[in-house]
């Protein structure tokens, strides 16, 4: 049995059901991210684990113990909030010590543990500062230390990096992952930032309208998205509409051209419409580039994104984006230019609704 088990979790606010029969098991020491747009129910699930919301149905079991009857202050769960939630009247030391004081730890034990925690987040020298004297990143690290000081059985992170600027966000997410691995603490992380989720998670749950569209490793989520929503939410994706030619051999036609997919198409028959996805990095217009398939198209626009150049191409009725690595020696295509888009048919993914 998993360390943290969510079984048939449901939640309704009035007539609106925001979480539908959510099931998942999280292993001890695992880092799981809930990824999805605003209002998809990811934070609600997190709050139900913490005990701040009561599920309309289902159960939350941690380490074999049903949490249903326990109040938030009885669950021993550490939580880090988007808004830091440091107590403004307490300095860094007292913030980190708060949970230990509440638990009745001795002064000596508190001082030792606080020192350990501040060492972990590398802020020992700021123990006497008040929250208003710290930057956002420092405040969030203190909030993390405070949550970890009480040795929680599960750590919950509710969009902890959203309020920080880009550079701090990247360094802090790496720090969070490193601390999590060092302590081996079971962690649930809520975010709407796909890059964040992909970079630090053992597994990702992609939430859509109160349901888990897909649960998998970052590699699986990115490379084999289970639904159109997952494919479009995680990374940039081109959707190409085609027709099934022969489902048994995986043959489809796109813009009148017959293409063989890597595997047979289940559940569709010849002549049915089919949506296929292609990642921008899987296509190219370069001469001699790999790929068994080529489609003629006209350049619509070109955007410089730093390390890559993204070009939009009109192919039939579809507009397809593709990326090429930036190189001072290359000449980006210009709008109106006619080119051939090359890609490997095996990189086309069949998208289910």
């Amino acid at each position: 049995m998993a360390f943290l088990t969510l079984t048939n979790i449901q939640k309704s606010f009035g007539l609106v059901q925001v979480v539908h029969n959510f099931n998942m098991g999280i292993e001890k020491g695992e880092f799981v991210s809930f990824l999805g747009p605003s209002g998809c129910g990811k934070t609600t699930i997190l709050r139900m684990i913490a005990g701040f919301e009561t599920p309309s149905g289902g159960s939350v079991v941690i380490n074999g113990k049903d949490q249903g009857a326990l109040k938030p202050n009885q669950r021993n769960i550490g939580m880090v909030f988007q808004a830091y939630a440091l107590f403004p009247n307490m300095n860094v030391h007292d913030n980190v010590a708060f949970g230990l004081k509440v638990a009745g730890a001795s002064k000596t034990d508190i001082d030792i543990r606080v020192k350990q925690m501040l060492g972990l987040i590398k802020l020992e020298h700021l123990a006497d500062r008040f929250p208003y004297q710290l930057s956002g990143g420092q405040q969030q690290r203190v909030a993390l230390a405070r949550a970890l000081a009480v040795k929680p059985q599960v750590l919950l992170l509710d969009e902890p990096l959203s309020a920080l600027d880009a550079k701090i966000r990247i360094s802090l997410r790496e720090e969070i992952r490193q601390i999590q691995q060092q302590l081996g603490i079971t962690t649930v992380f809520v975010t709407h930032d796909q890059e964040e989720a992909l970079s630090i998670s053992d597994r990702i749950v992609v939430m859509n309208a109160g349901r888990a569209d897909q649960i998998g490793t970052p590699f699986e989520i990115y490379n084999t998205p289970a639904t159109r929503f997952v494919a479009s939410f995680v990374g940039t994706l081109n959707i190409i509409e085609g027709k099934v030619a022969d489902p048994a051999t995986g043959a489809v036609t796109i813009g009148g051209q017959r293409i063989a997919l890597k595997e047979p198409i289940a559940g569709l028959k010849g002549g049915d419409s089919i949506s296929l996805a292609l990642r921008p990095e899987a296509a190219s217009i370069a001469e001699g580039s790999k790929g068994d398939t080529s489609l003629p198209g006209e350049v619509v626009s070109t955007s410089f994104l730093g390390s890559v150049i993204r070009t939009k191409l009109r192919v039939g009725d579809d507009v397809i984006s593709f990326d090429m690595f930036n190189d001072p020696g290359i000449t980006p295509p210009v709008a109106g230019e006619n080119v051939s888009l090359r890609f490997a048919a095996k990189d086309l993914l069949v998208i289910r609704e």
Partner: protein, 262 residues
């Protein structure tokens, strides 16, 4: 442009004169007790009066008690409404505004009818009961100011998230309220306290009709019987109010300087 600025200064001067000239007049008159020379004789006479000290002390005590009990009522109420019952917020706001709409004399007659010596709760039947009733009536009078001051301070902090953070760290309600919330709304609590102090020190109707030896009725008594002392008392009363207002400013400035960085 210059004409507009001149007009603004004239308007400010007229407004300031409206307030300042009567005060200066009162101050000047309070210093003229000794014939032909300015002196503090009126103030000496006031401070030497035993009744002044008794009534001033009584009102001070009532103010302190009103502030203490008022805080115990208002802070948990504002906290609970903000956290758990936001839907009753308009009702609570309406109730807290009632003392501004209902005249004090109506309230005190209501009290006398409800709590007279032949009622179920005969508060007016004893001195301590009447004192308690007067304190409750002061709490009622200060409710509009006290509630707003505390509620505004709560708006400045994220009460819900702080509560949840404390809960997740194992804290129970008393700990959350007195260690996490109360210290962070102290500026609002102090602002409410100073306004309450000013109200209690000058209140007449409740104290007079409940027949308690408060400072308000003493002011009226002296005003009816003496010439210079009432002016001295008026200046003292203004000084108390200004001191309270100054302390409110000081507290709110301290709060601003302690606010989080963006």
């Amino acid at each position: 442009m210059k004409a507009q600025r001149l007009g603004a200064w004239i308007a400010i001067a007229i407004g300031a004169s409206y307030f300042i000239i009567p005060l200066l007049g009162t101050l000047e008159f309070s210093l003229r007790m000794r014939r032909g020379a300015y002196s503090f004789d009126a103030y000496e006479s006031v401070f030497a009066d035993l009744q002044f000290r008794e009534t001033f002390g009584y009102s001070m005590l009532m103010a302190v008690l009103t502030i203490a009990f008022g805080m115990l009522l208002v802070v948990p109420t504002a906290y609970w409404v903000r956290l758990r019952l936001p839907q009753v917020r308009p009702i609570v706001e309406f109730v807290t505004l009632l003392p501004l709409v209902i005249p004090a004399i109506v309230i005190v007659f209501g009290y006398l009818r409800l709590y007279n010596s032949s009622s179920i709760l005969p508060l007016t039947g004893s001195t301590s009961g009447t004192n308690a009733l007067l304190m409750f009536s002061y709490m009622t009078l200060s409710l509009p100011y006290m509630y707003r001051a505390v509620d505004t301070a709560m708006r400045a902090i994220d009460v819900r998230t702080l509560t949840e953070a404390a809960e997740s760290l194992g804290a129970k309600w008393p700990t959350i309220l007195f260690r996490c919330i109360f210290p962070n709304v102290m500026s609002g609590v102090l602002s409410g306290a100073f306004i309450t102090f000013a109200i209690v020190m000058g209140e007449f109707t409740m104290a007079a009709l409940l027949n308690r030896p408060a400072f308000g009725p003493y002011l009226q008594l002296v005003g009816a019987n003496k010439a210079y002392e009432p002016s001295a008392l008026a200046v003292i009363a203004f000084a108390i109010t200004w001191l309270s207002m100054g302390l409110i400013q000081l507290v709110s400035r301290f709060q601003k300087s302690a606010s989080p960085k963006a």
